[in-house]
Amino acid sequence: MMIPALWQISSRQWRAHRLRVLMTTLGIALGVAVFFAVRTANTALLDSLSLTVERLAGKSTLEVTSGETGFPEEVIDTVRATPGVELAEPVIEVIVHSAFADEGNLLILGVDTTGDQQLRQYEFDRSQTEIADPLTYLAQPNSLLLSRAFAERHGLRIGDRLPIFTAHGRKDFIVQGLFQPVGVGAVFGGNVAVMDVYSAQVVFDRGRSFDRIDLMNSRSVPVDELQRRLCARLPAGLETVRPQMRGQALENAVTAMRLGMLITSFIALLVGVYIIFNSFTIAVNQRWKEIGILRSLGVERRNVYAMFLGEALLMGVIGSISGIAGGFYLAAAASKVMGSIAASVYGVISTAVAPRLHPVTVLTSFALGVAASLIGAWFPARAASCLDPILALHNIESRQPESSLGWKRIAPGSALVLVASLLVHFSPSRVGMTLQLSYAAVILLGLTLLLPMLVQGSARLIHPVMDWAGGAEGGLAVDAMVRSPRRSSATVGALMVGLMFVFSTGAYIQSYKHMIGRWTHRMLNSDLVVATSTLLRSTSYHFSEDMGNRISALPEVKSVENVRFTFIPFQGDSAAVIAIEMDGFLARASDAIEGGSSRHVRELLPRGEGVLVSNNFSARWRCRVGGRVRLNAPTGVLDLPILGIVEDYRSDKGSIFMDRALYKKFWKDDAVDFVDVNLKPGEDATLVKRKIERLTSGSEHALVYTNAELRIWIGSLVDQFFLLNYMQLVVAVVVAVVGIVNTLIVSVMERSREFAIVRAVGGYCSQIRKMVLLEAVAISIVGVMVGALAAVFNIQFMSRTVSTVVAGYEVPFYFPWLLVLAALPAVAAVSLLAAWLPALRAMRMSVIEAIGYE
């Protein structure tokens, strides 16, 4: 417990150093705000996913599904004939593009409205008691019931036409009823329509298959028992799960994004720790003498310790509370970002859920904020309590040379960096994500211990340059860093952390893009690609094979490959299936296949007697060429050898490549997601693209890309995916700026006495100003150097550990030279600005006043 008298000291210190306290508390608040916002947005997203599932599932207690591929409709007879099934209703879920400009997607729920009402409620419009004409609704496959929200946005009324792109091209649907935006109607922001499931089969070219069967158990048979019965009766490719599990599956789909966000939030907290650390290091330096006086007056070491920790605690409490308050508003923005990424990148539909204050999140954020500030203040507080009171009582001038470069720091610092780097390289993923992510913290801790040495080393390196460019003042500025590296360490440390994240995030993105570029070159090298969506794929809108036939009939076209890209359940998770006409694929991309004999691949793959798997699939499921994969298709089990490994980044779950005929046979699914078009030699891709666009315009929602456009398109998708990393970048930049401003302001003000002495002995104001500014420049250069060094470690960490955790594969190491060079002037500018104002203030201070009392 801290002695009450010391509170008085603390409170006076705070009053005297308002700016430092403000900046420090802001640092914690920033960290907590980001953490809280991400957690809250995460929870809101999950809430929204489960709410969506709940609303879509209605009262059903079990669901029968088969990934995204759907299954033959006869399954429903088996389900209905299973004892214990009270009610079983088929469902088709389709997300379509309406032909309206600037309208997002529309979720169409195909249900058997004659029976489904027992499972789900459709609350009809106030002015309307039921479907205007139920017979017409059922008899006309283009009938749908629309949520009022969507209808109002487009001024649609009953009887009006709504144009939608279907597998058979653009079609007009007739609005046969409106329902209120509650229950099912509130899903997906109200962009929802209901139609007859059998009509949906026809208009969306689903053949005789369903996406899902929702069912209710009879009262006498418990859900678990019924689940067992159904599992026993249904083919292996079908899963019988509780609806909540589908929420789980949706959650799994967005895991990567949530992880990314979580990492961002931890980075923000880590940064908070660093800001506190910096600030307290400065405070201890500033209050050096005060500590000596307190010790001489009989304040024990532990009370000095307690005083600093108490201050950190209070800052933590204030910072956390304000961080939570600010984070709540930030959460709304974060929620929007996550919702839109979930919808656009992952095709996961959700219902807008306003972020709520969750007590657990509030408490966690609060506790973490407080813990972060205590951790940050720990070392400086310890240093303060260990301060030799005799030394401390002397004036600053008589401080002994720092012993910060001793082995006591260098040895553990180097050891930490080394051990963590080794762990990054060699530790298996099964140690768990938390442990893996902690490597970064360990590296950072090690680098912090090494910081004074790094500062000194870097300062020595730049000494000649500063001497040459800055004259005597330049030399003096660097001398100060060489002699007392600890004083500059705080600023350099803040820069190091901020720049480390900027550089490593930049490097990661660059490296990723480079890798994707190589992949597109090797794998997606057809002359033209026709896609269903501006995103990687559409989960529910597909082409029919007929379109491929029409394109291949063009005289300029040499060959086309129809590609199906979907997800199937795999070992309790999911995996992407890329079903492609292998003859064509092998002809243009066989050199992308690694491992396995190429003769084997050429022979067996097109016959459907084996599969290729992606590098991340192989890493995730630890399988190699020669191993086998067992896939549960709706019509039976497929057990096939792995013939080769290909580079593929379409899914973070890993991809399986198989021949299209095999897929069609086992999944009874002939939908097409992409058409790869290869042209005859000498044909102009742009001209053929226009031709295909004319061919499909007004009928299909088809996007035609030339190979060059495809690369740009994929680049933009990558950018979208990296939205999170850009957010991280923003956090890092904010941190760096807060760090520089905080430490430089404090450091310059702390030295006002020193400046006064320089002036007293005849230094010009301009000389002092030059010295301060040159020192700021020197610090920037050293900061960028140290930040770049730290980034080397962090890039290793991100490209190996983070990438494997989030995406399932490693990204090659890449050092962002250009970014580092570009950072120099930017950092120098911020530093100059941060040093300028306090330098001006120091100039204005009267010399007598400044040296009169220390």
Binding site: I3, P4, A5, Q8, I9, R12, Q13, R15, A16, K289, E290, G292, I293, L294, R295, S296, L297, G298, V299, E300, R301, R302, P389, I390, L393, N395, G852, Y853
Partner: protein, 232 residues
């Protein structure tokens, strides 16, 4: 009150500086001792050893019958808090506190509430002649005033031992004289043992024992019979 037996103190690892060597010294209750000697003769080290801020390399230091080396750092700190008042050449006031708060601070460290500590501090300030300056912060006071505050702070809890490290070293002769007279009067009143390191023979003149150090050894130990408060 203070007993040093064979006390040595050296600094540094390579080139060892012997600050105090083999010192034996005994100071009784209510004695007024001045320690004199040239710079580097070990005066300040001696003070640091006695107040427990520093430990001897060899020998024993006893204060009020307690062997300091046998005490933990916390216990030595508590000893300072409860029994030793210190006055420094550079005053060492807490810059963020007012004169009143500075004086009240030792009492508050001992656990007294602000409302109990501050009236006592106020009357102490009256004693040192700073009644009107109690709400000023140290940077608003003159050197002499600051030292008065320091004296008030050192004496407020009636310490058994009052240690002064060049208490007049930073003051002009008039202020120095005033401070010495004040110190003299209060020491007599509180019956504290006074040990004062000084270069100033005027200051030494207020003491009834003068110890002269050279190279860490006592070269002279003179006792005088002086009436207190007279100064001459």
């Amino acid at each position: 009150m203070i007993q040093l037996t064979g006390v040595s103190k050296s600094y540094g690892l390579g080139k060892v500086v012997q600050a105090v060597s083999g010192m034996n010294l005994q100071i009784g209750p209510a004695e007024r001792v001045a320690v004199m000697g040239p710079s580097g003769s070990g005066k300040s080290t001696l003070l640091n050893l006695i107040c427990g801020l520093d430990g001897p390399t060899a020998g024993s230091v006893k204060v009020d019958g307690m062997e300091l080396s046998a005490l933990s750092d916390d216990a030595r700190t508590r000893l300072r808090r409860e029994k030793i008042g210190m006055i420094f050449q550079t005053f060492n006031l807490l810059p963020t506190l007012t004169a009143l708060e500075n004086v009240a601070f030792p009492l508050r460290l001992q656990g007294l509430a602000k409302k109990d500590a501050e009236p006592r501090a106020a009357s102490m300030l009256v004693r040192v002649g700073l009644k009107d300056r109690s709400s000023h912060r140290p940077d608003e006071l003159s050197g002499g005033e600051r030292q008065r505050v320091a004296i008030a702070r050192a004496l407020i809890f009636r310490p058994l031992l009052l240690l002064g490290d060049e208490p007049t070293g930073n003051l002009d002769s008039v202020s120095g004289e005033e401070i010495l007279r004040l110190l003299d009067g209060l020491q007599h009143e509180y019956a504290s043992t006074l040990l004062m390191v000084t270069h100033n023979s005027q200051a030494a003149g207020y003491c009834n024992r003068i110890i002269t150090l050279h190279d860490g050894r006592i070269v002279k130990d003179e006792r005088f019979d002086r009436a207190p408060a007279t100064g001459r």
